[in-house]
């Protein structure tokens, strides 16, 4: 029987197998940030264990950082302390840190690909569930807890049970205005939030093959929202072209040799998956969520389902929506374009193309938070900043921002926010805030109208 992409990468990293137990998996790259690493550093220090491979760790400050006045000292004492701790831990252990203000700083899942740290065939981990993003490169990448961060610090390995395999195929032609975010929201709405639990997912079909790397990252990013630890897409010419020439990417002959290997990673034709689903691209429309988990999504043309279930009703009560109603024309006061799901240059290009020459609605606060310093620079260089500022959008500095509202970027209680982030959990964007997940195009259109519209009627 043939091997899957996942099998090939996994098997190449197994150091040891325990009889009737887990396997020891070697980790090629370990990304860390300020929130989930301090307790792991402390654990090792207390046990007097050195960090095994500091050269394989890259750190950034992103979760708990302000998105305005980054040059000034951080006001919140606890946040400042957490960031100071990261700086001290990295200095002490000789770990590369892209701190606030550094030209390479940004959201961990945005900077690693753009610096060429993320490469096909690797194993990558980070104390963050959206590490699945890097699977877009044909990488086994997944989120880990802080105890596991300490394990990787101590040994550069993890003890893991090999997950089961799942493949999601989407073939056909996407409709106008349907973005990668809609594709993944559609898949999660169809399969539910725990369909992937215990599985590693591969996305296959012409829809993913034709996507840019940015689009693939958006898709793989949300694999965890259907419960899958990670999601992967087979590396191809699009992948190689993206990686080539980036700062930490292999160069010249080494690169060519790597490409030859990366080409062998695709799933064999006779490989069998434990679970497999297929969808038609034509069935997908711009998507919106109406509830308090990412599986509660509908197409723009659909109404909220009518289910008699306590959890469902609790969700709708939180969102202040009614069963069977449409979201079209719902007034919206907050729009957020950002997060590790949708804060790459392509996301801002698509939003700017819609916004150009228009004005945001008076009632809307529209926040744009680039994923990295490099994306911020590109926004300026490509003239997108002008477009957004003329339209009344507020361009902030890079970071995780209102996706998890750890910093001051919080949506006020009771307000709706059309957000390009990944989670619409209760209180995720601020206590009592109501999140509607959508694509950057839907977010831009909402900001212009001040309410939800079916923008596909406005596209040329």
């Amino acid at each position: 029987m043939g091997k899957t992409l996942f099998d090939k990468v996994w098997d190449a990293h197994v150091v040891d197998t325990i009889k009737d137990g887990p396997q020891v998996l070697y980790i090629d790259k370990h990304l860390i940030h300020e929130v989930t690493s301090p307790q792991a550093f402390k654990e090792l220090e207390e046990r007097n264990i050195p960090i095994a491979r500091p050269d394989k760790i890259v750190a950034t400050a992103d979760h708990n950082t302000p998105t305005v006045n980054q040059h000034l000292p951080i006001k919140d004492e606890l946040s400042r302390n957490q960031l100071d701790q990261l700086t001290k831990n990295c200095e002490k252990n000789k770990i590369t840190l892209y701190n606030l203000g550094n030209e390479n700083n940004g959201i961990v899942h945005v900077i690693a690909p753009e610096l060429g740290i993320t490469q096909p065939g690797m194993t990558m981990v980070c104390g963050d569930s959206h590490t699945s993003t890097h699977g877009a490169f044909g990488t086994i990448a997944f989120g880990i807890g802080t105890s596991q961060v300490a394990q990787v610090f101590a040994s550069q390995c993890l003890l893991l049970e090999k997950p089961k395999s799942l493949r999601v195929n989407v073939n056909g032609k996407l409709k106008k205005g349907v973005l990668p975010k809609d594709v993944i929201l559609y898949i999660i709405a169809k399969l539910g939030t725990n369909s992937g639990t215990g599985f590693f997912c591969e996305y296959a079909g012409n829809v993913f093959e034709e996507m840019s790397m940015e689009g693939r990252m958006t898709v793989c990013n949300m694999s965890i929202e259907m419960g899958a630890r990670g999601g992967m897409i087979a590396p191809d010419e699009t992948t190689f072209e993206y990686v080539k020439g980036r700062e930490f990417a292999p160069k010249d002959a080494v690169f060519d040799k790597k490409v030859a290997y990366w080409k062998t990673l695709s799933t064999d034709a006779d490989a069998i998956f434990d679970k497999e689903y297929s969808f038609d691209a034509e069935d997908i429309e711009p998507m919106l969520t109406y509830g308090t988990n990412p599986g509660m999504g509908i197409k723009i043309s659909e109404n909220i389902p009518t289910e008699n279930d306590t959890s469902f009703e609790k969700s709708l009560a939180y969102m202040n929506f009614k069963k069977g109603e449409s979201l079209i024309n719902k007034p919206i006061n907050f729009v957020f374009i950002g997060s590790c799901t949708n804060s790459r240059i392509e996301d801002f290009r698509v939003a700017a193309a819609y916004v150009e020459g228009k004005q945001k609605a008076k009632n809307v606060n529209a926040w744009l938070v680039p994923g990295s310093q490099r994306v911020a620079k590109q926004i300026e260089e490509e003239g997108l900043q002008d477009i957004f500022e003329k339209a009344g959008f507020q361009l902030r500095q890079p970071g995780c921002s209102a996706c998890l509202a750890m910093n001051d970027d919080k949506i006020p209680e009771g307000e709706y926010c059309v957000s390009t982030s990944n989670r619409n959990f209760e209180g995720r964007q601020g206590q009592g805030a109501r999140t509607i997940l959508a694509s950057p195009l839907m977010a831009a259109a909402t900001a212009i109208e001040g309410k939800i519209i079916n923008f596909t009627n406005h596209l040329n």
Partner: protein, 193 residues
């Protein structure tokens, strides 16, 4: 890590499905740099009203329900990888969580912190939630060695990874084990990188 062998205690029934880690510990409480103190903020936005007063309707605030066992609705612990969720539960005093489904990362985090996640069938979960809600004094016996959960509505066997079981019974953690593999890891690095 503390050893876990056997537990006899009452339980708190939390009949809500899809409890995500943002509910277990909201992000605004993730600024600490040690593992202590998270128990004070477990389920913070459910335990307290918006004005800061205690939400009397929430089960954790009902003094009739006590104990180190939490029984929760389907798909417990989905969302963020924050281990702070496990620290918050254990800081509050929970040693066992019973549900019909657990998210992967939470399950691993719980086991790495001496919390035993026990997966039961949906039917048994419903019965157990009903029983404990009706009678808060209901005792639950958890015998890890024999992988049996005993109550007066019936006994059930539960699954646990044999390696993880050994870790819990002995209070070992993965770091000790991985460091014992140092030679093999070094050999792997030499031949592959």
């Amino acid at each position: 890590m503390e050893k876990f062998v056997k537990l006899i205690d009452t339980a708190v029934p939390l009949s809500i499905e899809n409890i995500d880690t943002d509910q277990i510990i909201p992000a605004r409480f993730l600024k600490a740099t040690d593992k202590k103190g998270f128990g004070d903020n477990v389920f913070k936005d459910w335990r307290y009203n918006k004005d800061g007063s205690i939400n009397e309707k929430f089960i954790l605030n009902n003094s009739a329900y006590k104990g180190s066992i939490l029984i929760a609705g389907d798909n417990f612990g989905c969302g963020s990888s924050r281990e702070h969720a496990a620290w918050a539960l254990s800081g509050y005093g929970f040693k066992v969580v019973i549900s019909s489904f657990f998210a992967d990362i939470f399950k691993g985090n719980a086991l790495n912190n001496g919390i035993l996640p026990i997966q039961v069938s949906k039917v048994f979960l419903t019965k157990l939630l009903e029983k404990v809600t009706a009678n808060p004094e209901t005792k639950i016996i958890i015998d890890l060695e024999n992988q049996i959960l005993r109550t007066d509505i019936g006994n059930i066997d539960f699954e646990i990874d044999p390696y993880k079981k050994l870790c819990l019974l002995n209070g070992y953690d993965d770091i000790d084990f991985l460091i014992s593999k140092k030679k093999k890891i070094a050999a792997f690095e030499l031949s592959n990188i």
